[in-house]
């Protein structure tokens, strides 16, 4: 279809997609902050990360491929920024404004959801390679495939990390059996244990 359209340079210049690109970025800011906070454990660090990410995204807008998931593209930038610049300073998940440690009560607004404060503490104990994929696949709407691209690993690796991360969370939260879960039902597997060797190095 596009081949039929006359493409002269004037129309290319005038319809440069920057304005809508900006709107796309604005719309993704809340997700970028949430993902940045999930990586760093701090909303303040997340804001700096998002600022860097927006600047890079802006100057590399040409490398965004239309039709692909802009969230995945932005997450890739943010994640690379975090690991190359922030983490090197020795910043593991830190508790400056500690989303993974504070006992601020957050109501679990959905039926059957676990206590959020408990979940956050447990999340903070996960190896980051498991935490990041759990968040991406479990909460941000990214597919396994997209999460694999963001992390630069194979899809099977993402699936494995999600699986291990979920098991570790269940272990930390003490809900390895279904009747431990908020929504109780028939007990399925009684002795699910997670091997302690499954730890990222």
């Amino acid at each position: 279809m596009a081949a039929d359209q006359p493409l002269n340079s004037a129309s290319l210049v005038r319809t440069a997609p920057k304005p809508s690109f900006k709107e796309l970025l604005v719309a993704e800011i809340p997700n970028l902050r949430a993902f940045g906070a999930s990586l760093s454990g701090s909303m303040h660090v997340a804001d700096d990360l998002v600022q860097d990410t927006l600047l890079k995204a802006w100057s590399h807008s040409g490398s965004f491929m239309e039709g692909t998931n802009i969230r995945a593209w932005l997450f890739t930038i943010l994640r690379n920024t975090y690991y190359s610049m922030y983490r090197k300073r020795g910043r593991e998940v830190q508790d400056t404004d500690g989303i993974y440690s504070s006992r601020i009560a957050v109501p679990a607004d959905q039926d059957g959801a676990l206590d959020l404060a408990d979940l956050r503490i447990a999340l903070g104990k996960l190896p980051e390679e498991q935490r990041e994929v759990l968040i991406m696949v479990g909460a941000t709407g990214l597919s396994y495939e997209e999460a694999a691209v963001v992390c630069g690993v194979a899809v099977g690796t993402v699936k494995s990390r999600v699986n291990r991360g979920r098991n570790r969370l269940a272990e930390l939260l003490g809900i390895q059996r279904s009747d431990d879960a908020a929504d109780s039902g028939s007990t399925v597997s009684v002795n699910q244990t997670v091997s302690p060797v499954l730890r990222a190095s």
Binding site: P19, S38, M43, L54, A139, N163, L169, L173, A181, L198
Partner: protein
């Protein structure tokens, strides 16, 4: 990546030829538990997403856009 290799080397060897087992190096949780964890992850994340966006981030984008329009090409 290194970590994973170390962890699963023995298991991968034991399960050679079965790609499913090779990846399943942890037991699969009961569906109800998976669902509960899934809902909680979503609640955790949605709570972060709903935090108000600092003005400076919006201002930054407005500035970048204005600069581009000014400077033109």
């Amino acid at each position: 990546m290194n970590g994973r290799h170390d962890i699963s080397a023995n298991q991968a060897a034991a399960n050679e030829g079965n790609p499913n087992i090779d990846r399943m190096d942890a037991p699969v949780l009961d569906q109800k538990i998976q669902d509960a964890i899934g809902r909680s992850l979503k609640a955790h994340y949605d709570d972060l997403v709903s935090a108000p966006v600092p003005d400076r981030l919006l201002a930054l984008l407005a500035e970048l856009e204005a600069k581009e329009k000014d400077g033109g090409s």
